[in-house]
């Protein structure tokens, strides 16, 4: 079964592709400059000129959402990439050299997991100050443990297989075995975790910027837009509805993709196909 036959996963991929295009060509696609204020036109509801209306400074909400795609995707992909790298490296080392090193790494993981995730991220982001890079760091700090655990478990199972023993008798070193044999065979759960994880990270980033810990104020960030819009929830609901929808659609798209990949990469599903 091709992943394109899975309707939800396909929808997720289409939406993600559209988001990427939006982010790449934001200056061409946005109808207005997201930073230009015109106080005379503040808080207009959706109309022909401003499809999603304007905010309290008269800036185009649609343009700001389009530009916001960039920051959301950068944070989502950046955090996931960094978490995956850290998690895979530590998880592989822990699983392969089980013993004291394994104990140390896994207890560190336990310590990090013992903190409530978003609160730890809040602390880290608060300490580092505002800025997109700092949000990426804060969310990576709370996000890598899951990957390390999953990888370690998979490596523990995989390294007991007989072909690993055989390769060792051929004279292979530890690094060679980890990179050439173990890594390709434990990547499946990580791909699934990471694709769904992007959605979670975007959600967490929105939460952080809603609380004021994100990119500096004029920057168009979905979570911050929700925050500023909440003062006008009664009079101008479009200020919160549209950024909220953007977050929801993006997160859903990544979750659909993750689910689809899981079905696709699960070896049992593969076998069904062969029989």
């Amino acid at each position: 079964m091709c992943i394109l036959e899975n309707k939800l996963a396909f929808a997720g991929m289409v939406i993600i592709a559209m988001l990427v295009i939006l982010a790449l060509f934001a200056p061409l696609l946005a109808p207005h400059d997201p930073y230009v204020q015109s106080l005379g036109q503040s808080l207009i509801g959706p109309c022909r000129d401003y499809p999603f209306g304007t905010d309290e400074f008269g800036r185009c909400v649609l343009s700001r959402i389009i530009y916001g795609t960039r920051i959301s995707l950068v944070i989502g992909l950046g955090v996931t990439t960094m978490s995956t790298i850290i998690g895979v490296v530590l998880g592989m080392v822990a699983g392969f050299h089980n013993g004291r090193l394994d104990e140390i790494i896994m207890r560190v993981v336990d310590v990090f997991l013992a903190f409530p995730g978003l609160i730890l991220a809040l602390v880290v982001a608060g300490l580092l100050g505002p800025g997109t890079l700092n949000v990426v760091i804060a969310l990576t700090v709370v996000g890598w443990m899951g990957y390390a655990r999953v990888i370690r478990g998979a490596v523990l199972a995989e390294k007991e297989k007989e072909y690993i023993g055989a390769v060792q008798t051929f004279g292979a070193g530890d690094c060679y075995i980890m990179l050439r044999h173990l890594l390709p065979n434990v990547m499946t759960p990580i791909v699934v975790m990471a694709s769904a994880g992007v959605g979670y990270v975007i959600l967490a980033a929105a939460g952080l910027s809603f609380l004021g810990l994100g990119a500096e104020p004029p920057a168009p960030v979905w979570g911050a837009m929700l925050n500023y819009g909440k003062a006008y929830l009664q009079s101008a609901p479009h200020l919160t509805i549209f950024p909220g929808l953007a977050i929801m659609i993006t997160v859903l798209a990544f979750n659909f993709l993750g689910d689809g990949l899981r079905d696709q990469l699960d070896p049992r599903m593969k076998n069904l196909h062969f029989r």
Binding site: Y163, G165, Q168, T169, G171, N185
Partner: protein, 317 residues
């Protein structure tokens, strides 16, 4: 002597507060000549596979030494010395995990040469590999497939070719055919035997199947709970088994007198694990002929020419 295994012991400790020791191998000693086949027989869990892994350097022993052609193979830390990589090879039990599932057969086949820093694309190596493939009865059409597209027998033959490409001195076969159909078993065993004779390789053949071991081996060693209890030429041990446990194995083999035999089937008794019989014969708690003297552990003694047994009564006769 090609391979000499001297007093290999292996213990595992478990538990944090009250650490308990589990003795898996106890002073296992044997030797193997070039071109000779030694069959190692024993019930599952008796330490056969652990012994194989120790000889190959995959698991460090608790104590003891292994010599290949007179040279010790382990460094201080219990790891295999570099110069012995590739000289001792193994064929494992489970064909489904014997090859990396994400590598094509061709890549797996060339991997040992690559790891030994030999350019596998050299003509001599390619010729050798294709000759080996033909030798194990496979065509080149299998090379571009993935392991899950091959049958168990085909994979075991690929593994044989892979292992032989390094021209090892010693080959360990750890129940290589126990997961295969009977018809395929015979085929793989015949190839294994032929190749061994052709290349004058020492073969350590591990199995629980006396039928198979009797056919392929020159000598047979019987293992019970981590110890070799009887050791003799293949014909002799089948004609005249000395140890009661060997007699039990052979009895099962001929399927006669199964009622009496089932009474003597070894079971891991509580007393054994609790260490009451720490110094007794390993078979003491299950032996139908156990005597008072069996509370002292017997050692492997030569009873008649080339026939060793660890049993007081066998020695006295």
């Amino acid at each position: 002597m090609l391979l000499r295994v001297e007093k290999i012991s292996k213990e595992y400790t478990s538990g944090i507060f009250r650490s308990r020791r589990h003795r898996v191998l106890e002073e296992v000693t044997f030797a193997l000549a070039q071109g000779e086949t030694l069959g190692l027989v024993g019930e599952s869990g008796c330490g056969k596979s652990t012994l194989a892994r120790i000889i190959l350097g995959l698991t460090p022993p608790s104590s003891g030494k292994v010599f290949l052609l007179g040279q010790e193979v382990f460094s201080r830390g219990g790891r295999l010395k570099k110069e012995f990589f590739g000289r001792m090879q193994i064929v494992f039990q489970h064909p489904e995990s014997a090859l990396n599932p994400r590598m094509k057969v061709w890549d797996s086949l060339l991997e040992p040469l690559l790891l030994q820093k030999k350019n596998p694309l050299k003509e001599e190596h390619i010729n050798r590999c294709s000759k080996l493939l033909r030798r194990v009865g496979l065509g080149e059409e299998y090379l571009c497939r993935y392991p899950h597209e091959l049958s168990g027998g085909q994979i075991q033959r690929i593994v044989l070719a892979q292992v032989l490409s390094l021209q090892p001195d010693l080959l360990i076969a750890d129940e290589p055919t126990s997961q295969l159909d009977v018809s395929v078993q015979a085929q793989v065993l015949r190839i294994l035997k032929d190749i061994q004779v052709e290349n004058n390789i020492g073969l350590l053949f591990i199995s629980h199947d006396l039928d198979v071991v009797g056919w392929i081996s020159d000598r047979i060693a019987v293992m019970l709970r981590g110890q070799i209890i009887e050791h003799a030429p293949a014909g002799l041990i089948r004609r005249k088994p000395l140890h009661p446990y060997t007699r039990l194995l052979l009895g099962n083999y001929s399927m006669s007198d199964s009622k009496k035999a089932s009474r003597a089937v070894p079971r891991r008794s509580m007393e054994l694990d609790s260490g009451i019989f720490e110094n007794a014969c390993v078979y003491f708690s299950d032996c139908p002929q156990a005597q008072q003297e069996c509370r002292q552990k017997p050692w492997l003694q030569e009873v008649s020419d080339g026939h060793y047994a660890a049993c007081w009564q066998a020695v006295r006769k």
